[in-house]
Symmetry: C2
Subunit: 179 residues, 2 copies
């Protein structure tokens, strides 16, 4: 069998595992989704997953990275849109994995891999918020502090259930206070 074929198969298998894991995590949450179920749905033996990922946390961050890679360009592409709209699309984009975010927070203290991912993600959102706030007219000295508040508001919106109107209201209210 040609090496290329094998290579392709591996990529496909890995992608299938991650796709299956992603939808299962979103559907029933991280804890309730067993490695056995992921494996079965992906059509491999339960322990095969451990060939591709070190452990369950490793699979989780692989899934999360996929999600972020997919969401970021969308937000970055809206350069000309008003700030509140960009924040709202960021939330909408990450929201499908919103429940996963609370799982991430819960596992930060247990797993180094998860902690590293969380810190990087946090830094990224912070960076983005700072530059956005400065662009919106906030003085650079206060931008860092404002950005932190903004992040906590975003996290709060992700962690708790909200209607679309509530979300818009909270974001615009927060931005009005900050800018």
């Amino acid at each position: 069998m040609a090496r290329n074929k094998r290579h392709l198969d591996q990529k496909v298998k890995k992608e299938e595992i991650e796709t299956v894991a992603m939808s299962l995590f979103k559907e029933q949450g991280y804890d309730k989704t067993s490695m056995a179920t992921v494996a079965k749905e992906a059509g491999v033996a339960a322990n095969t997953i451990y060939w591709y990922y070190e452990n369950k946390d490793d699979l989780l961050i692989a899934v999360l990275n996929r999600e972020v890679m997919q969401a970021m360009p969308l937000v970055l592409a809206m350069q000309s849109a008003p700030l509140s709209e960009r924040v709202l699309t960021l939330i909408a984009q990450v929201e499908s994995a919103g429940a996963l975010m609370t799982d991430v927070h819960a596992r930060v203290s247990h797993s180094d891999v998860v902690k590293q991912w969380h810190d990087r993600f946090h830094q990224m959102v912070e960076q983005l918020s700072i530059s956005e706030l400065i662009k919106a007219g906030v003085s650079p000295e206060h931008a860092a502090c404002d950005a932190r508040l903004m992040i906590y508001v975003i996290e709060g919106l992700l962690a708790h259930p909200h209607t679309m109107e509530e979300r818009v209201q909270v974001v615009e209210h927060a931005l009005a206070k900050l800018i």
Copy 2:
């Protein structure tokens, strides 16, 4: 054996279980603490806990209620202190169980008991924040929205590690923006 004695013993046993569970949950987190460990440390058989509590989540909220019952009077007693100081002591008070808060968020979607407790707690902090903000001069129409922002900031402070200075800075910055 007198009924009184038995009654007393039961109370003591329950208290011991909760004390042990509380310290273990704080030390190693909710997930990593097994019912078996709690039982062993409390000096009972593993399944005895199920006589007093329906399940592990039930034990968790019993522990959390204890913590809140203990913290609330302290915060309420500081009526004359400045708002920022009261918020900071609230955070310091709940902080010892801060890591548990992320566990609560993670389990809200799995357990009805946990969800109910979380909602009640949220409502309580919201109520408190609203009345505090009004007392501080915020117009009653905007107090609800401001309170929500305040709660998310508090949750953010609890969910992430901070130095004391950072905490003070964030709280005062947030209050300055809101009031």
